[in-house]
């Protein structure tokens, strides 16, 4: 199962108005660590589908949103709750480390 994709156009509806906490993975094709962490995020999304949504935003195709949130390093994984950023995780990490970072949203 692959996680859902969001865009500049769908960001307000899909992310900012999400009822559940939602994590946005800011990524790009040319970023090796982004590709490495992607299957791990798919796995976390699958295992915790009831608690946390995880979506992907390609920063090349959607520069407006990437710029708005000041992305300067990817992968950047931001958790949004009620339209606000409540958690920032930067850089590819092994699954247990990511789960520890996200513990409050997965419990």
């Amino acid at each position: 199962m692959s996680t859902k994709t969001v865009t500049d156009d769908s960001f307000a509806t899909d992310v900012l108005q999400s009822e559940k906490p939602i994590m946005v993975d800011f990524w790009a094709e040319w970023c090796g660590p982004c590709r490495a962490v992607s299957p791990i995020l798919d796995k976390i999304a699958e295992e915790h589908a009831d608690k946390l949504s995880i979506v992907k935003l390609n920063v090349d195709d959607n520069p407006e949103t990437a710029m708005k949130y000041g992305i300067t390093s990817i992968p950047a994984m931001f958790v949004f709750k009620d339209g606000e950023i409540v958690k920032r995780v930067i850089g590819a990490k092994p699954k247990p480390a990511l789960e520890a970072d996200l513990a409050e949203f997965l419990a």
């Binding site: 090796g32 992305i71 390093s73 092994p94």
Partner: protein, 343 residues
């Protein structure tokens, strides 16, 4: 249990896997969950790996090595090593998932980890203007001013790469000469976007939510200056990743794992080390690959010297098979050939 586990998936780990798999050792490669492929996964064009006259992208090179290892039967696990017990005849490798794998021999090829500046504000601003990966983050600094800290090959590669995006790239080095290779130096000196700042050390990184500048201290006269900029790329070298083997393997004063002469044999029988984790000097993809070859051949010879019953247990066969016998004989003969000239 199996015969051989290889920890690491850079040029050393994958090359060891290619040789070991072709020798029918059916190696298990623990490749790491996010850093598989090693340091070259974060690079762009690799111009000095032999066999690629037009150059090759780092991640493509590593994918090819992985495929080559798999072609001959290497098994690759994308997980991290949580703990390692190298003390007994049977080595135990515990993974992040909790799974435990056992083998008679281990090749340790974990490479090195980027060095940090050691400033208190560094980790808070990491991802907000402080970066260790120009190829990952460079594109976010279009028309901005950035600095690369360091004077080696990777610092100059990053600086040259960043000129694709940034208007100005400062190269801040604490000495007045570079360690980098001549080809890279010439390219950087000729680049109008790169400005060299000699004899300066980073004393501070400014910025609350994102980087706004750096404070520099002169290494000669101690004077202090600041630079306004938006990005800091740290390329001050790397330290061998030995934390899993502390107390189990001897290290040399430079911090790498001690090996016996030109071999890969560590202070423990059955444990071999290869790549940057044993190399305080050269640290090239091609030298790491060569070092992986050495480790695979050393492991092969070691396994051939073990009692056939033990190998049979490791390979899951109940009896000593003809194949094991034949292989042991072949390895003994080739060892005799290697030893002959010095005898």
């Amino acid at each position: 249990m199996r015969e051989l586990i290889i920890i690491g998936s850079g040029p050393a780990g994958y090359t060891a896997a290619i040789y070991a798999a072709r020798a029918n050792l059916r190696p298990l490669v623990i490749a790491s969950s996010v850093e598989f492929g090693g340091e070259l996964m974060k690079t762009t064009e690799v111009e000095n790996f032999p066999g690629f006259p037009e150059g090759i992208m780092g991640p493509d090179l590593m994918t090819r090595m992985q495929q080559q290892a798999e072609r001959f039967g290497a098994e690759i696990l994308y997980d991290d090593v949580a703990a390692l017990d190298l003390t007994g005849e049977v080595k135990r490798v515990t993974l992040g998932s909790g799974d435990v794998h056992e083998a008679l021999a281990v090749i340790y090829a974990t490479g090195s980890a980027y060095r940090k500046l050691g400033l208190p504000e560094e980790s808070a601003l990491s991802g907000y203007g402080v970066s260790w990966c120009a190829t990952c983050d460079g594109a976010f600094f279009r028309k901005k001013t950035v600095a690369v800290i360091g004077g080696g090959d990777s610092a100059l590669e990053e600086a040259t790469f960043l000129t694709r995006f940034a208007d100005t790239v400062y190269l801040v080095h604490r000495r007045d000469a570079l360690r980098a290779s001549a080809a890279l130096q010439e390219r950087a000196f000729a680049d109008p976007k790169i400005q060299f700042i000699w004899n300066k050390e980073v004393a501070r990184i400014y910025g609350d939510e994102k980087v706004t500048g750096i404070g520099l201290t002169d290494t000669v006269d101690g004077s202090e200056t600041t630079l306004d900029l938006q990005g800091v790329f740290v390329a001050i070298g790397a330290d061998p990743r030995t934390h899993l083997v502390h107390g189990q393997l001897d290290l040399i004063p430079e911090g790498t794992i001690a090996v016996d002469g030109r071999s890969s044999r560590t202070s423990r029988p059955g444990v071999f080390a290869a790549g940057d984790v044993v190399d305080p000097t050269y640290k090239q993809a091609a030298t790491a690959a060569g070092s992986g070859v050495v480790a695979a051949l050393d492991a092969e010879h070691y396994l051939a010297s073990l009692p056939a019953e033990l190998i049979a247990r490791a390979t899951g066969t109940d009896a000593v098979t003809d194949e094991i016998e034949a292989r042991a004989r072949e390895a003994r003969e080739s060892e005799a050939r290697v030893a002959a000239p010095t005898a």
